[in-house]
Assembly symmetry: C2
Homo-oligomer: 208 residues x 2
DNA sequence: CGGCATCCGTGACGATACTG
DNA sequence: CAGTATCGTCACGGATGCCG
């Protein structure tokens, strides 16, 4: 096993980079913030990562306490990887990177991959309330556990229970939000995001 | 020149990692947050980086708008590298990494390098006020421009003008602060940090 | 078929030597 | 002082094979 390559600096930022600075690691964390995932699903949502590097990173993340490997209860008896609490604490790091990267996003290039739940991070940033939010995009659906203390931060597909609000938006609006060009209240006011639901969260989103 | 290796993902966090995800890049940013620095000084404060990688990263950072290469005014006619505004905007990324890495800091290993100004980031985090603060450690002196909007975020050596406050602390206290085990007000109250100066900032630090 | 391990070509990295 | 040149090594990316 790899005796980890370290910067050997007595500095907490350098220590963090010792653990999460390797190529792909933080993007694997981004995937796992959507909840437990199988190896094959991770590989499918991270185009370009080679099979051995993915396996190696997952082992490193287990060793470093970022993730666990767990057997799903039958009948879906497969192994899944899920973040530990420690791993989920990397959310602010991904948010800081995502905020900084907003102005680097630019146009979607012909070789750029997209997954619906990659918009979860910018939407969580744009949303300062708490609650379960279902989001419907052209690319697919996902849901956000805004303000959740533990468990997944977001997830693929429709919300697992009745959400506090539903958001419906098109690709252009979604991109504008992801670039930080548009705030969520502005987008709602401009009619570019349709908010449905009876919860307090839905009312708040429609009003502010 | 390197046709940059990209993740090719339409995601702002992935875009950020395209720019700053290479080995050493964020640590070079950490160094340059201390103000303009010469190549040789960067190399000296980043033990382990090879000369060609450092040169290559600096070129990449110029190309990507993170840093500039500038000739210092005589008599110190040398080339220095300094962050652009865009580069300085990476401060929240380094702070998020540093916060997360606090619990990874552990003991100082025998091979760990240390520089006084590496404690600038944790101290800035521990300090929520604004002003110029001079810090004196066993390892050396540095100063913080807390709350500064532009220009360097901190610097090596004593403050260039009369600071709003001076902090004097020993290695153990500094480490405890860097680990997040101790807040700055607690450390002051426990007498582990000596605050001098007449400014409002100094008074505030002594009182709270 | 999902979950890797193995092999291989390429490029990134680290150490040292050297040059304007 | 500020890099460039060279070189060995290792990490990465792609393909393929294996095993439950």
């Amino acid at each position: 096993m790899s005796p980890r390559r370290s910067y050997d600096q007595f500095c907490s930022a350098a220590r963090a980079l010792d653990v999460v600075g390797d190529r792909w690691t933080l993007l694997i964390v981004r995937e796992l913030l959507a909840g437990p995932r199988r190896y094959t699903d991770l590989h499918a949502d991270l185009p370009g990562v080679s099979t051995d590097v993915l396996a190696s990173r997952l082992k490193d993340m287990e060793r470093d306490g970022l993730a666990n490997r767990r057997r799903m209860p039958p009948p879906a008896a497969a192994y899944v990887y899920e973040l530990t609490d420690r791993g989920r604490e990397l959310l602010p790091v991904l948010q800081a990177l995502g905020s900084w990267g907003e102005s680097e996003l630019g146009e979607r290039g012909p070789t750029d991959a997209v997954r619906a739940h990659w918009f979860a991070l910018p939407l969580l940033r744009a949303l300062d309330s708490e609650g379960l939010v279902e989001v419907r995009l052209d690319e697919g659906d996902f849901h956000l556990y805004a303000g959740a203390e533990d468990g997944p931060v977001y997830g693929d597909g429709p919300a697992p229970r009745e959400p506090d609000a539903r958001l419906l938006l098109d690709a252009a609006t979604c991109t504008a939000l992801a670039r930080g060009e548009l705030g969520l209240p502005d987008a709602v006011r401009a009619g570019r995001v349709t908010v449905t639901g009876d919860g307090a969260l839905a009312k708040e989103l429609r009003e502010t």
